[in-house]
Symmetry: none
Subunit: 165 residues, 4 copies
């Protein structure tokens, strides 16, 4: 226990020390642990690889923990109409901290959340939006994929999400 307390004090001291340059330049602008561009690129690369493997050209969008667009790729021949859908899938997943497949299942006619897609300037309620959870079990964003069947879309999203687990 004592050892642990010491560790925390040490960690704080180190953090302070390392944060000093930032202090000099104004406040820290990004929450610690949020998705980085490097992570997003790694996720995009894995998703593209999967899309190429199943031979379906895709739109792939990544949002950060704040639900804001971080990175995006559209492959050759991928639907123009799926630009918006892939981005909305990623946002929808992060907005409700569940996959778009799960949200969709409770938003059908007769279901509790029927009509929810009219909120937030438009949600997407079918599979292909998946949370990005890092090795520390923290949600750091979401990935949205659109271009094939919803199962194909989701398989590409899973392939992307897998690389940061």
């Amino acid at each position: 226990m004592r050892k642990c307390k010491l560790s925390i004090v040490l960690a704080l001291a180190l953090t302070l020390f390392c944060a000093l340059p930032a202090l000099a330049e104004g406040p820290v602008k990004t929450l610690s642990g949020d998705i980085t561009l490097a992570q997003a690129q790694k996720i995009l690369a894995a998703a593209v690889k999967k899309a190429e493997a199943i031979k379906v050209p895709m739109n792939i969008a990544i949002v950060d923990a704040g639900g804001n667009l971080k990175a995006f790729y559209r492959q050759e021949d991928a639907f123009i109409g799926s630009i918006d859908i892939s981005i909305k899938k990623a946002m929808t997943a992060r907005y409700f901290n569940m996959s778009t497949r799960t949200l969709g299942s409770v938003s059908q006619p007769g279901q509790p959340l029927y009509g929810i897609e009219a909120s937030n300037d438009g949600l997407i309620l079918f599979a292909g939006g998946v949370l990005l959870v890092d090795a520390n079990n923290v949600i750091i964003g979401a990935i949205g994929v659109s271009g094939g069947s919803v199962d194909e879309d989701e398989s590409v999203a899973f392939a992307g999400a897998a690389v940061i687990k």
Copy 2:
């Protein structure tokens, strides 16, 4: 295969040669092969002829390969509310490279793409939007027709699309 590569090199060289006058006038502004106004007018004329034949006044919209409006006609007595629908039908078809009838069939309640109309500032999911595929088998845009029953709309769209095949 080698023959094909050689052909491509040759084609590029020729393209460069022919593009020389353009160099003097600034960069080329339109990708080669996109729909021309002359083609759009021919398509509109064929669609109007069909609409007159079935005696249903129509709104007829044509978008280019990028999904941007190229030409539009509204006949006398055609619904004002169908201006937007005909344009959205054309855009929807090009956005997803399929007819709006086909897209609609997989977007019904309980179907995989249920709710997709909330994307892209509004899609149209019933018949009347059809791809424009030229004689070289390239998608150069789409036509959207609205004013009658969906079957009537689509028959007019097909009549328009037929003239550039």
Copy 3:
């Protein structure tokens, strides 16, 4: 002149020949010569390199010849509010085939195009949006950068655009 016509016929014939496999797979979905994801990634890499060199975190967006989003990166600490601005800068440049700096200069109060930003769901009228012109002198899209001063933004856009010339 005759030579050029012959060249065009030859080029078309070769194009047809090479397009044969495509015929078997349905219509060609993308106009020849439009920006590829590989090109977009190369442009993004060059722009990121420049942003790192001047130490300003940026949002960088790329649109294709049709004005539709092709790729996007947001660097760590780059403004969230610049996601939309960078995308609109790229679109604005392609929509009017000129840099956003040039368009902005003729859209000031008292200038001919004053108020143009109210069109097209919002344009951006300050520097940072630049055309992407390839080695064949064809406009294949545009890049929009936002995150620093407008001069910094534009320097990053130029760095990106330079790699495909």
Copy 4:
């Protein structure tokens, strides 16, 4: 006096007789004298001819007396961003029954209508939108042109508007 009454009865009878086919098919759908598609095509042709003469590719939009889109052409190489502007110019002219040049002159900073462009989902306040007034001195719609300088745009709009005077 008696003669006059007889005339009125006769006129009513004739009107009824002539209106019979319409009565059988439901109410008349379009105001008498509104712009026809044939007129719009004639206007478009004249505008295109002028645009070709001054060698500036244009977007040309025509709205009817109700301010609703009637016909539209985009010439090769005309700005994508001018689709929306040409349509908004035509609508703006009809919405306020004056040219967009005139409306713009009273909407500059310090002028009475400053900020009016924020209404009606976006107005355009520079030249290129002109009323369509027929031979009976009735406003039957408006034409909006966008693609060149505002003076070039307006010259093309005038060329179109001239043919129905």
